[in-house]
């Protein structure tokens, strides 16, 4: 067997470019492997990563949106009209991290996991309780 580890790249983009990038990935025949958010405690940043993978040569491209603490409410257009199954990941990111993702095709309205605590992964903003 020939082991092909494949590329593993991180591509930083602006919040508005996500749909364009997702279309580009889709036209290349890639599949959305996962999407996740991360809260960086030290830098106080919210990061959203969408990973696209190629099933033939195992390449992986991670599209990364980085939001500073004061901008973490920035509206992000959902890519669930391009990749329908992205809805589950986007609901998860919104419920756990408070990412402001708009127009998800299968919208659970922050009730995917139905937890009591709001956005447990991200510290509350000042003025909020």
């Amino acid at each position: 067997m020939t082991a092909t580890e494949g590329k593993n790249e991180i591509i930083a983009i602006e919040p508005g470019e996500l749909s364009v990038k997702a279309m580009e990935m889709k036209s290349k025949g890639l599949r959305l492997s996962q999407a996740c958010a991360a809260w960086l405690r030290k830098d106080e940043k919210l990061e959203l990563s969408y990973s696209f993978v190629d099933d033939d040569n195992y390449d992986m491209f991670n599209v990364r949106i980085s939001l500073d603490n004061d901008k973490r409410d920035t509206e992000i257009a959902s890519i669930s009209d391009i990749f329908p199954y992205a809805a589950f990941y986007e609901n998860e990111m919104r419920e756990l991290f408070g990412a402001n993702i708009k127009v998800i095709n299968l919208d659970f309205h922050n009730k995917l996991y139905r937890i009591e605590e709001e956005t447990p992964f991200v510290p509350k903003k000042e003025g909020q309780n």
């Binding site: 067997m1 092909t4 593993n8 492997s33 996962q34 991360a38 030290k42 099933d55 659970f108």
Partner: protein, 359 residues
């Protein structure tokens, strides 16, 4: 058009031991729409990184799921090792591969049993689990645990497989291979079993790709993707090809998984044959600082790990994307248009692991 009704499925259901809730919209006996709702097992263990350091997290990660426990522990350790640039000794890589395949073996036999139970063949269910117990005996002999092994650590493994144990593994493999051939006859050729599986829940290759399916579920629809081909651990030095089927129905998924039982047996034999001498673990110094995306092949399919370290013992983020999470969309697709009586089979056919899904 018939009368529409909504039937709730789960969270407590005789067929599926795990809690998932599906709202099934029925038109007479046909399902026209499905809405899954999850969250019955959501624990929030990813946030434990704030309270546990990166070595303790290995034990938490192993408990993401009790069936693919070893895979989760391995995926976590491998990702941290990539961030910290740790060169794992060759022997540890091979030992990890052997345990990984042993866990795949027991998981697939478990699935075969649950599948048999789902279509009401209780005898076959018991036979599959009887064979599986032999695998668990060997796992217990080599690691000390039956379902949760806890042999991984960042930098290598904690236990060794001695020559005596290797002999026991090889004897077990011969036994399991012999017994699986008998079970395979029933699964693949029995008239009644075939009629429950053939043509049920068909997912074409295009659909499977468009829905982002992973693992044996996607391979049964003809997508030849297997993360083991990426050659992590010692897979790069072993000989294997992804097992695929072009049927795309329940029969195809059964065929793929039974094929993978033989493949696992073959891989363990190869790995034992090539097992090098050497250390069990590398020395780990410092804290992880950086990030890495890792993909490995769990018994249920492709699992993604993302770890972000910040230079302290507590990681910023530990993320596991499990195969069942990816296959949820596929499950909803195969349920649409199916008969109500087939819901149990179709739910089991993706090999659901709800505990993984919700973490």
């Amino acid at each position: 058009m018939g009368k529409r009704s909504v039937i709730p499925y789960g969270p407590q259901h005789p067929v599926l031991p795990e809690p998932i809730h599906l709202d099934l919209v029925l038109e007479d006996e046909k399902i026209v729409d499905v809405l899954p709702s999850i969250g019955f097992i959501h624990r929030g263990l990813e946030k434990l990184t704030e309270k546990r350091d990166f070595n303790q997290m290995v034990y938490v990660t192993e408990r993401v799921c009790g069936i693919c426990s070893f895979g989760h522990g391995y995926g976590y350790c491998d990702t941290v090792e990539h961030i910290m640039n740790i060169e794992v000794p060759d022997r540890a890589k091979f030992l990890r591969t052997i345990w990984f395949e042993l866990s795949r073996l027991h998981s697939h036999l478990l699935w075969a049993g649950l599948m048999a139970d789902a279509f009401g063949f209780e005898n076959l269910f018991y036979q599959c689990w009887r064979v599986r117990e032999k695998v668990l005996d060997v796992i217990e002999l080599t690691t000390g645990g039956r379902v949760i092994f806890s042999v991984n650590k960042v930098g290598g493994v904690l236990k060794d497989i001695t020559p005596d144990m290797q002999k026991a593994i090889l004897e077990m493999l011969d036994y399991v291979e012999k017994e699986t051939k008998v079970l395979e006859k029933t699964f693949m050729n029995d008239y009644t079993v075939e009629s429950r599986m053939k043509g049920v829940g068909v997912l074409t290759k295009e659909q499977a790709h468009a829905l982002g399916c992973a693992g044996p579920f996607a391979r049964a629809s003809g997508i030849a993707t297997d993360m083991r081909m990426r050659g992590y651990a010692a897979y790069g030095e072993l000989d294997m090809e992804p097992i695929i089927s072009n049927d795309g129905d329940c029969y195809g998924r059964c065929e793929v998984r039974i094929g993978e039982i033989y493949q696992s047996i073959d891989l363990i034999r190869q790995a034992l044959d090539k097992l090098p001498e050497g250390e069990l673990a590398a020395v780990v110094k410092g804290n992880p600082d950086g990030e890495y995306f890792m993909r490995i092949e769990q018994p249920r399919g492709e699992a993604d790990y993302y770890i972000r370290g910040n230079g302290t013992p507590n990681l910023d983020r530990m993320r596991v994307r499990t195969p069942t999470f990816a296959n949820l969309a596929g499950l909803c697709a195969v349920l649409k248009g199916a008969d109500y009586a087939d819901v149990g089979i179709l739910a089991v056919t993706i090999d659901p692991c709800i505990s993984c899904t919700e973490r």
